[in-house]
Every structure is written in C-alpha cells, then in structure tokens.
C-alpha cells in the first residue's frame, strides 16, 4: 500500500504541530523546486507506506504567492490520495474558505478541527457531526497541542485515501453555475467529472496560470470570456469577487445551525496583551526592549560565550572541564607575571610607545597597568612586531617570559581541543607534513569555522522560534512596516539586520521569518552590508593607524552600512527582478499563545542542521581551496609547499598580483592589499592579520578609507556566502547577490577615492571622470521612476 496524504491549512493553525505528531521524527526537509519555500515530508506513524506531505500554510489557492502556487501545483499535478485539512476551530469562517477550494479538486478531504478545547473554553459550540453532514466529508475534532484526536484524524485520512470518495460539490448561484457548466463543457470535458470543477472555477476567475496550462485556443478563450462577462453583468461584480463572495456566503450558510458563538464583549488574554504590546506609545519602547534582549542573549552573552568556547576551546587549544582549574591557572599566571614580567622598564617602554601613538600600544599599556597577563599576551601577540619595528622592541624581556608561563594543562581537568588531539594523532602515525597541514589547517579549520557559528545560531533560532510561535513576530512587521517598506524590505527585516551587527551568518539565516519571497531576497542581499563583529578590527585598525583614533571613523562604518542598505533597497526595487505589484501587506495578526518547548526545539534544530548541511559544504570547500592556494607557491624559482610561506609568494599572492590592477583606481592596487581582501573572504578579521599595521601607514588616508569601504561592503566571508546560498536556494541568486555586493562596493569606493583625491588637489582626469560617471549612474538609478506595475502573470513567474 503506497498512499500519499497532503496536509493543508492556514498559517498559525497548528499545522506544524499536527505534522510532527503524525510523523514523529521520521521527516525529510527540503525545498519545493525553484522557490525558497520549505518542503516537508514524513512517514505516517503506525502505518506502512503512507507519506504525509506538509503543504505550506496558505489562505487560498490563488496564483499570487509562491506558497500558494507550490501548494496548488502539488495538488493538481501530483494529486495526493487524500487531503487532511486542518482548520482552527476558533476561526472557522476564514479557515473553511480554503476548505471550499480544496473540496473542488476532486480529491478526498478530511477536516481536522483544531483547538476544540479553546473553542469550548470560550463558551462557543460547534456540532462537528452536523458540520460533517453539511460539508459532505469527515470532520474530526483534535487538539494538536495536547495530542488528542490525532490517531482518529490519521485513521480517517487513510480511510478516505483508500476509498477515494470525493466531496460533493457545493453550488454557486445560478448565473455562475450556468457559466461554469459552459466552461467545463468547452475546456475540460475530457477530464474525469470530479476533476473538472476546479479548472472551471479557476478559468472563471481568469486565472492566467490555469489558462496557460490548459493551452486553450483563441476561439475557446473568446467563448468562455463571453460566458464570464455575462455572469459578471448579471451579478454586477467582477468574476474573482463573485466567487470569493459566494464562498463566504456558502460558509456562513453551512455554519448556521451547527456553530454558535457566545456573544461576549469580554476581552481575551490575547487582546489584553496586544493592547499593551502594540499600544501607540508603548509599542516602540517595548519593541526596542525585546530587540535589545534578543541581541543581548544571542550575540552579547550566551552567544559569545558558547562561540568563544567552540572556537578557542573545542576547536582551539582546549578548555578546562566545567571550569575546574581555571581559577588556579589564573592565580598561577598572575603570580608568575608578578614575579618575572611586570617591571618599570617594561612599563616605561610601553608608555613611551603609547605616547607616540604606535597602534596597539595603548591597549598594551592598559594591560600592563591592570596587570592582566592574559590580555597582555593577546595584545602583544597581535602588535608585538609592529612595536618592535617602530623601535620599541620588547621581545628580549617578554618572549622568554611568555614561553616560560605556566601550562594550562597542568591545572584542573584540561580537555584538549580537537585540533590538538588530531595533531597528536597525526604526529603519532608520522603523517607527512603537508597532509598534516591540510587536515589541521584546511579541513579541521574549515569544519571549525562552520561549527563555530552553530551554537550562537541555535540560541538565535530558539529565540526566533519563540517570537514567531508566540505571535510577536507578526507584530514586529506591523510596527516596523512603515519604515522598511520604502526600501523594498519588510518590517521583519529589522531582526536580520540587528543580528547582522554581531554576525552576518545568523543574520542571513534569520531572514527565514520573512514570508514574502521578494522581501526575503532583498533582505538576504543587503544584510551583510552592516558592519559585523569581524569587520570591526579593520575599522579599529584604520581608525587608530591612520586617523589617530578620530571618533567618527567607527560610526561612519555603521552609517555606511545602513546607507548601503537604503540605497540598494531603492535601486533594486526599481529593477526588473524586484518590480511588479508591491507585496500585499495584508497580514493576519495571530492570537498570542505560549508555544510548546518541543516545537521550539524542533524548529531550532531544523534550521541549525540545514545550515550545517547546506552552508557547511561551501564553507568547507572554500577553506580547503584557500589553504591550497596559500600553502603552495614559488620561492626562489622553485614550486614548493610550505604552510608558513609568505602570502606574496603563494599561488594566492600571484593571483592577487594579477587582480590587484583592478584596485588601482580605488587607491589600493597593491598585492598585499588585494591578498588581504581575498583573505577577508575566509573571515573578515583576517584582513587585519594579512595587512598589518605597518602596511596601512604607508597608505594615504583616502586610500585607506577607500580600502575600508570596499572591505565593508564587498562579498562577505565564505560562511555568510554559504548562508546566502542556503537561504536563496539558488546558485543564480547567490551569484547575483555576491556580484551585486562587489560591484556596489567597487563603485562606492571609486567615487569616494577619486573625488577625495580631486578635492585634496591630487586628482587625475580619467579617475575623476569615472567617478563622476559612476556617481551619475548611481543617482540616476536612485531617482528614476519605478517601472510600471507589471501584469499579474509576470509576478507569479
């Protein structure tokens, strides 16, 4: 027995909960072909060979949103054996509207009325037996949350699928039925009778997709158009409105006598919450507070803590189990540093260096003053060489001290990190040097880069799942819509961008909460313009090295990010890819309710694992690629492998040398700056690693600022590219996003650098011309009128 059951229903009616209850852990998650809509399938529990397909949550089978198109294409083309239609008992009228369309498909339908417990508590009454009799299909009472009625619903659906008895058609009013009969006769009479209805109704509604699908001749089209027009004249309304109206009238008629709503003016709990949360005065402060909390938990505290542990502990040197030994270790190092490191001479040298503005010296001075050995060792590691080259050599006093410092592993329960363990094993088996480097630096490093994001992301996904499930996410869109829609974004774009200031990867993944396809794509494309945590070192370095720590450099980076989003939103909104009817913002504000822990955890895990699978592959491959190109190269005329070779000599450096020409107009056309930019793809903070403090000092301020702009706005790191690929679910869109970001970054850098040079009296003619041209094109794209609204047929393509 091989049967397929489709699960259909409105959004926010407990469909996911029911699906989980029906299939348990036996699920496969993918995407519907060609769209970013998620597709879930599972095997029905306690039955053999029955597949349940979870259709996207939809209100109607209209041809306007990707979700609706996916659902109706599945229903009409794949034709499941039965439809299990879940409806919200507390909101029957609107829920049954979809039911009236599902029953026309000629597929057996079983209705599961969810939230029956809530309905009774509200004092309402629903006679399901009577409802079943009137609709002509089985109606089962369930509570997905409590798990009651699930077995009965499954049984009814399986039975319906086996018997194959379809639902009798409800009738529209006379003139409509007349037209429908004609349409059926001339277009779909070759189909089995129970399948003709749906096509006839869609043709009556002038549904472009169905028209195309049926390949009607012009004569037939003319013929049915006459029928439709006749009905429209008689009913004094357009065809689409007639059908919608009559469906709702039919529902009202069905519910009369089997549904009694208790007339109350009492406010529900949900009403009372909403009164506060979207209150005119309180809404924005509450919104800010909730956003702060999300950011604080996901990015600042829990997120950073677990990410640090993954990066420095699990995929670093190692960690103290449960923190045992950490205190003892710190005490030992403090005592050690007290004895052998801190000295007046050291203090004096660092003080002098800080006085003369050597980058990093002031941070070093802070560490010396507070006698913080850990901080000192870290800052020294980054800036030690720069200090030495500037004439403040500390190596003679500091290096032996660092080497003799107490070993972390001697204290408490020390768990070595994965790279350490693998390294030991490889040494043990006498692995070849290059292979060891490939495994440790290339593969383990790459896997570490992927997994390093996971803990933080899981924390964020849990919060997002909560906000979505409890109903607040819809209110965010309600509150923020006014601001964001001007740039072709959704109010829900706020969260990805906020999270993006911490890290772009979870930021991009957070865009999943945006239903509208275009809004989501736009959000994915622009989120990484925001300066994330890893870009801050670049900003700090340039601000201190070249601008003497001027206050405005760091804020300007954020301003630039926001400006890039706004400009891109306006420009892209007017292009063909994003044009067409504006996304209808006609959105249900679901009642607030407490979600179950199980659903939250499941949603968190689904998103987290899909990141590991889809984005992880790209990140891993890219890491290995960079490892290969940076560890092989030509030194002294010989091609060889050296994991520690200078980047200039590596394959990567050679490629960098070639493409560095591209960056000449931007003021940083050197091999090193190019390689630094390429390494920025691995992780943005790598830019600082490659492009040391000293390299910046040889640059002009304008060139350095142009370098900063380019690195802030161009393609994000591989991890973020992987996330973009995951969320776009299309290689074409991923390339488009990356390409757009690079071109945009290039144009802005070009304008800033060339005009900056011009105004400081060092400009050149071709550069200035190019800059003015680029600026003119940019302004044109910004102010040109939007494309005329396109026909609806184009929208749904």
């Amino acid at each position: 027995m091989n049967l397929r059951i489709a699960l259909a229903g409105n959004p926010n009616v407990g469909k996911t909960t029911l699906f989980n209850a029906l299939t348990g852990s036996n699920q496969f998650i993918g995407n519907w072909p060609g769209v970013t809509v998620e597709k879930k399938e599972g095997k029905l529990k306690r039955y053999e060979g029955i597949t349940v397909t979870d259709l996207p949550g939809i209100y109607s089978l209209s041809p306007y949103t990707p979700e609706e198109v996916v659902a109706r294409n599945y229903l009409t083309q794949e034709r499941p054996d039965a439809i299990l239609n879940i409806v919200d008992g507390t909101n029957l009228e609107r829920n049954l509207y979809l039911t009236t369309q599902l029953t026309e498909l000629g597929i057996p339908v079983v209705i599961a009325v969810n939230m029956m417990d809530l309905l009774r508590r509200n004092g309402d009454r629903l006679d399901t037996a009577k409802l079943s009799e009137r609709l002509g299909c089985r109606v089962v009472e369930i509570s997905a949350l409590r798990g009651t009625g699930i077995n009965e619903a499954a049984e009814a659906a399986v039975e319906a699928a086996q018997i194959g008895q379809t639902v009798p058609m409800h009738t529209f009013s006379g003139p409509v039925e007349h037209a429908l009969a004609h349409i059926e006769e001339v277009t779909v009479h070759h189909l089995p009778p129970q399948r003709q209805r749906w096509y006839a109704v869609k043709l009556f509604e002038r549904d472009e997709q169905v028209r195309k699908q049926l390949n009607l001749t012009p004569e037939t089209e003319q013929h049915i158009e006459a029928d439709i027009a006749a009905a429209e004249r008689e009913m004094d309304d357009d065809a689409e409105s007639i059908i919608t109206n009559e469906r709702y009238l039919y529902i009202a008629d069905v519910l009369k006598g089997c549904y009694h709503k208790k007339q109350t003016s009492r406010m529900t709990v949900s009403d009372r919450i909403d009164r506060v949360v979207t209150n005119r005065i309180a809404a924005l402060p509450i919104f800010a507070a909730i956003m702060f909390l999300v950011y604080y938990i996901a990015v600042s505290t829990v997120g950073t803590f677990v990410t640090d542990w993954t990066n420095d502990g699990l995929f670093g040197d190692g960690w103290h189990l449960f923190g045992i030994g950490s205190t003892a270790y710190e005490e030992a190092t403090d005592a050690y540093a007290e004895q052998s490191l801190w000295s007046d001479a050291l203090y004096q040298t660092v003080y002098d260096a800080a006085e003369s503005g050597i980058p990093g010296a002031s941070q070093l001075l802070d560490a010396v003053e507070s006698r913080d050995f850990g901080a000192f060792a870290e800052v020294y590691g980054t800036y030690g060489e720069a200090l030495a080259e500037a004439g403040y050599d500390l190596s003679a006093t500091v290096d032996p001290v660092l080497e003799g410092a107490p070993d972390t592993a001697d204290f408490g329960v020390w768990v070595p990190g994965i790279p350490v363990l693998i390294g030991r094993f490889l040494t043990f088996v006498h692995c070849a040097g290059w292979l060891e480097s490939l495994i440790l630096d290339g593969i383990v490093g790459g896997v570490g880069a992927v997994l390093g994001f996971v803990p933080q992301m899981l924390v964020l996904f849990l919060l997002l799942a909560f906000l979505e499930a409890c109903g607040y996410m819809a209110r965010i869109a309600f509150v923020m819509d006014r601001i964001f829609r001007r740039f072709g974004l959704s109010g829900k774009s706020f969260i990805p961008m906020l999270i993006g200031t911490g890290c772009g990867v979870p930021g991009i993944m957070a865009s999943r909460t945006i239903e509208n396809d275009r809004d989501r794509k736009m959000t994915i494309m622009t989120t990484t313009f925001i300066a994330c945590g890893a870009k801050l070192p670049i900003v700090t370095l340039i601000a201190t090295a070249l601008f003497g720590g001027t206050w405005w450099v760091a804020p300007s980076a954020y301003f630039l990010g926001v400006a890039a989003i706004v400009i891109s939103g306006i420009i892209l909104k007017k292009t063909r890819l994003f044009s067409g009817d504006p996304a209808p913002f006609v959105m249900e504000l679901p009642a607030y309710h407490l979600p179950t822990v199980g659903n939250l955890v499941r949603s968190m895990w689904e998103r987290g694992s899909s990141f590991i699978r889809k984005a992880g592959t790209i990140i891993l491959l890219a890491s290995v690629f960079i490892w290969v190109t940076s560890s092989f190269g030509v030194v002294d005329g010989k091609f060889l492998f050296d994991s520690g070779m200078d980047l200039e000599n590596s394959l990567l450096g050679m490629v960098g040398g070639v493409i560095s020409v591209l960056f000449v107009p931007l003021g940083f056309g050197t091999v090193k700056a190019t390689v630094a930019t390429v390494m920025g793809l691995v992780a943005k903070e790598e830019v600082v690693g490659v492009f040391g403090v000293l390299d910046f000092e040889s640059m002009t301020r304008i060139a350095a600022y142009s370098f900063l702009i380019f690195n802030l706005l161009c393609a994000p790191c591989f991890a973020a590219i992987g996330a973009i690929r995951r969320e776009m679910n299309s290689a074409k869109w991923t390339w488009f996003a990356i390409g757009y970001q690079c071109v945009f970054a290039y144009v802005i850098s070009l304008i800033v650098y060339q005009l900056g040079m011009l105004f400081s009296g060092r400009g050149n003619v071709p550069g200035a011309v190019a800059a003015f041209l680029a600026a003119a094109v940019l302004i044109f794209l910004l102010v040109r009128p939007a494309r005329a609204r396109t026909k609806r047929a184009e929208v749904c393509e």
Binding site: Y59, S60, S62, Y64, T90, N91, E93, R94, Y97, D237, D238, E240, S241, T244, N245, Y248, K261, D274, T278, N279, R280, I281, A283, L284, A474, A477, F478, V479, D481, R482, I483, R485, D581, P582, P584, F585, V586, M587, E588, L589, P590, A591, R789, R792, V795
Partner: protein, 73 residues
C-alpha cells in the same frame, strides 16, 4: 466615496465594494473582506500605518493605501 482608510479607530463599518485589481485585491478578499462584511477598526500602528482591524472574528493588518481600496457605507 467613503473607504476603510477614513474610518476612525473604534468604528465598525460595512464593506460595500472592493476597488483595484490583482494580487492585493484578491488577497484582501481571500482574507475575508468581501461585500457586506462588517469590519471593526481596532488600532493604528505606532508610526501611523498600517492599521489593525477585526474581520470575521480575527485580527488582520493592512496598509492604509490598501484600505483606501475598500469602499464602505
């Protein structure tokens, strides 16, 4: 022509006709705002747009521009 856009918060109005065409109109109808439906205006978003209404027993939000397409009594 009076539309839902002009209705004040706290007011209950009855829908006469829907204007406009395409995706937005269809969506509004699909969500249950059809000829003869009573719509209660619950509130306006803190920034002045969109609005929140009660229709057929549930809460719906829509932009003022779209509310302007809904003719009321």
């Amino acid at each position: 022509m009076k539309t839902l856009r002009e209705a004040k918060v706290g007011q209950t109005v009855q829908v006469v006709k829907l204007h406009g065409e395409g995706a937005v109109k269809r969506r509004i109808m699909d969500m249950g705002i059809t000829r003869g439906t009573t719509v209660y205006v619950r509130k306006v978003a803190p920034l002045g747009d969109p609005i929140e209404v009660t229709v057929r027993g549930y809460e719906l939000s829509l932009r003022k521009a779209d509310a302007g397409m809904i003719e009321t009594e």
